[in-house]
């Protein structure tokens, strides 16, 4: 069984959205879950969050940023091509219920991952405040889709080309300082680069607002068999693929997560360079 690409769209200079056929995932998916793809026989297994599903046509939508060999190779595929393997949905769904007031923070491709969660939380009658951030305006994805679902949406860019000039965590700090005393927040969900999630956890920790982060550790099988996604939460070893990917951000050892993400950096750079050499058109 392969997974034909039904649709492809470029969202920003290095971000793409694809819809692929995968009935078995579409039928079971809940927000917060991911799939693991293997593009072809020689590919590695890469985890990607499912951002949307269409159960009637049996497709799932994935949004990915080109950061290395596999995502670049994926970006060379288009409608009519197929992905060899897709296993999922993996991981635990986000806890969705009526919390009251929630803040969803998405940074970079984390915006893609937070999108289905915003929708689910809005559907569960929460007041959703979204904060989206990226390096620059062009990289800010899904602004329109998310602001439609949110009660209020704030934007920020590192270079100030749109919204707040700076980091999402500064916006978050500001909102909490202004509103938390009078209209408290019940929950905050942050997804993005681990450095950003760590900073967000530092912002919310002193005000004791339950904060959830989704960890993008390196993964291989995604079913609890290799242990490469291990991470420490409150001092206990957890596996991001089966115990997560979401954890209490105040208890995650983000420094460990950040460090382990660079374990294969040298090899990844080598693979990327090699691939670009072989595909000069890219």
């Amino acid at each position: 069984m392969t997974h034909p690409i039904a649709h492809k769209r470029q969202l920003s200079p290095d971000t793409y959205q694809i819809r692929i056929k995968a009935d078995h995932v579409a039928n079971k998916f809940k927000p917060g879950q991911f799939v693991i793809l293997r593009i072809h026989e020689k590919s590695e297994r890469i985890p990607l969050t499912v951002s949307d599903v269409d159960t009637s046509e049996g497709t799932i939508t994935l949004i990915y940023q080109v950061v290395g060999k596999s995502t670049m190779e994926l970006s060379t595929l288009g409608t009519g091509d197929a992905i060899l393997n897709c296993v999922g949905p993996l991981g635990n769904p986000t806890e969705v219920k009526h919390f009251g007031r929630v803040i969803c923070v998405g940074g970079g491709t984390g915006i893609a991952c937070i999108y289905p969660i915003v929708r689910a939380l809005a559907e569960a009658d929460n007041e959703v405040i979204s904060i989206l951030g990226a390096r620059t305006e062009k990289m800010l994805i899904l602004e329109h889709e998310i602001s439609e679902l949110s009660d209020k949406t704030y934007l920020s860019t590192d270079d100030g080309s749109k919204g707040h000039h700076g980091f999402v965590t500064e916006v978050l700090k500001d909102i909490i300082a202004k509103e938390h005393k009078t209209k408290p927040f019940q929950r905050i969900i942050v997804i993005g680069p681990p450095q950003m999630m760590k900073a967000a956890a530092d912002v919310t920790r002193p005000c004791h607002i339950k904060t959830i982060a989704s960890l993008n550790t390196i993964m291989v099988d995604g079913t609890g068999m290799c242990g490469c996604c291990r991470t420490y939460v409150n001092g206990d070893m957890k596996l991001a693929c089966i115990d997560g990917p979401e954890f209490d951000a105040h208890k995650v050892d983000f420094d460990g997560v950040i460090s382990r993400l660079s374990m294969f950096q040298e090899k990844e750079a080598q693979a990327y360079k090699d691939f670009k050499k072989r595909k000069p058109s890219q």
């Binding site: 069984m1 078995h24 995932v25 079971k28 293997r38 020689k42 590919s43 590695e44 297994r45 060999k69 596999s70 060899l84 393997n85 897709c86 296993v87 999922g88 949905p89 993996l90 291989v220 099988d221 079913t223 609890g224 068999m225 290799c226 242990g227 490469c228 291990r230 991470t231 420490y232 070893m237 089966i242 050892d253 460990g256 460090s259 382990r260 660079s262 374990m263 294969f264 040298e266 090899k267 990844e268 080598q270 693979a271 090699d274």
Partner: protein, 464 residues
């Protein structure tokens, strides 16, 4: 003194200095003349101790007789009556503790090489395209087999022979379980495993890859859809030491290390995408088959210094004799009576040293082996840039958490009765899922036994 049985026909092998540069099979296999000569050494003991000790009581003597008479085809069909995957068991069974260990000339180091005879016949049949063919009378009952390791494979084959509609679910993208992702190709060539999987396909087993039961499909949905279920989910979740420094870069579980190397082919990096970083010196913790496999993979990744760090001594190693022998020939170094206390990293978070306790051996424990005891104050450090923890593994807790109605023991092993039925009617289990880290042949035996039980269960159900 007469030397019963004479001396063993030596197995030709790739030379150590050559083979550590490739992942091809180390033994080169017997030739027809050699295999016949080896078979002719059998002294046809009364009582057939070899058959008694084989966990599936294979008809070894009959096989040997046919081989000695150059009737390889007949030998093949005799083996197949009991053993659906002889090319595999012949290569990986711990023969010295089973069939071969009780063969009289074994005491002199010259037991009949039963495993290699078995593998020869199976390879011969594969090369000649000779397969066991059977007429499948169709029955409407449907059975699900979860997991595609040796337990799942052997159960599926028998269930098809009984005529049931069999669907096999496998979480990974390739079928075979440990045979595929764990045991390296230089010990068990990939084409040997692939051939058995292809055979499943040919006899009509519907193999669904990339399906994790519990996640893709709910266990309850399966129970509704199928008349019976066989759980052959193995024990694939690694144990960790749970000591300081375990999240350092350079520290792997044996499962991650072997999955990257074998299943994902990281040893062909750049042609294949999955990377592995394996800088020497490498320390492997543990001394079983898994540890030997990891050590030998590390040597093949070009590392010069690969150490087994073992808390007991070589004598107590649970690995197959052949594995230890091969690993030592290839340059693996053994450090006995030591056990890690913590891993020490550099400023970039990479492993650089291991702090270890010196150990001593005490009284025998439950496994019959002397218990290793820490010597307090004996700590010392060794420079290590890679650590692979081969401490054993346990059943997958994700699956168990998705099937909470299943009864398990405190190690997460699924509880079964003497028919291999779990506490849920119509749901059977076998292999590592009920035993923890056991062997291919025990998993295979369970698969066959479960198939029988399932047949009885289904026929009693249809009568009532």
């Amino acid at each position: 003194m007469i030397k019963l049985g004479g001396t063993r026909v030596p197995m030709r092998e790739q030379k150590p200095e050559e083979r550590i540069k490739n992942f091809k099979s180390v033994p080169l296999g017997y030739s027809e003349e050699e295999v016949i000569k080896e078979a002719q050494r059998c002294i046809q003991c009364k009582g057939l101790p070899c058959e008694t000790e084989c966990p599936i009581n294979m008809k070894i003597l009959e096989m040997i007789r046919e081989i000695a008479n150059r009737n390889f085809k007949r030998a093949f069909f005799i083996i197949k009556e009991d053993n659906p995957i002889p090319a595999i068991t012949g290569r990986v069974c711990p023969q010295e503790n089973q069939c071969e260990g009780v063969c009289p000339p074994y005491k002199r180091g010259h037991g009949i090489n039963i495993g290699k005879l078995e593998a020869f016949v199976a390879d011969w049949a594969r090369e000649k395209g000779i397969k066991e063919e059977f007429h499948i009378k169709k029955t409407p009952e449907k059975v699900a087999v979860i997991g595609s390791g040796p337990a799942g494979i052997s159960c599926a084959v028998d269930l098809r022979k009984f005529g049931f509609q069999v669907t096999m679910y496998e979480a990974l993208h390739k079928a075979g379980g440990v045979l595929q992702y764990g045991i390296p190709a230089f010990r068990l060539p990939t084409e040997v495993v692939d051939y058995e999987i292809q055979y499943l396909d040919e006899i009509g087993v519907d193999i669904k890859l990339n399906f994790f039961v519990g996640q893709n499909i709910k266990f309850n949905e399966l129970r509704e859809e199928f008349d019976a279920i066989f759980l052959a989910t193995g024990a694939g979740a690694p144990f960790f030491m749970d000591i300081e420094g375990e999240s350092l870069k350079g520290v792997y579980s044996a499962n991650e290390f072997l999955i990257r190397v074998n299943l994902m082919k990281a040893y062909k990096f750049l042609d294949f995408d999955t990377p592995i970083v394996c800088k020497g010196p490498v320390g492997i913790i543990g001394a079983g088959n898994v540890a030997m496999d990891a050590a030998r993979c590390a040597l093949r990744l070009g590392v010069e210094k690969v150490y087994i760090l073992y808390r007991r001594t070589k004598k107590q190693s649970p690995a197959r004799d052949e594995e230890i022998q091969h690993a030592l020939e290839e340059g693996m170094l053994l450090k006995e009576l030591i056990s890690p206390k913590k891993f020490v990293g550099d400023e970039d978070g990479w492993l650089k040293e291991v702090e270890l306790f010196q150990m001593e051996l005490g009284e025998a424990d439950k496994s019959g082996r002397p218990r290793p005891i820490k010597i307090e104050g004996s700590e010392f450090r060794l420079k290590m840039n890679t650590i692979v923890e081969a401490l054993g593994s346990m059943p997958n807790r994700l699956f168990l958490s998705r099937a909470p109605e299943l009864e398990v023991n405190k190690w997460g092993q699924i509880k079964v009765d003497h028919n291999l039925m779990t506490n849920i009617k119509g749901v059977y289990a076998g292999g590592d899922a009920i035993r923890g880290n056991a062997t291919v042949i025990l998993a295979l035996g369970d698969g066959r036994k479960a198939a029988q039980s399932i047949r009885k269960y289904i026929s009693s159900k249809s009568r009532s």
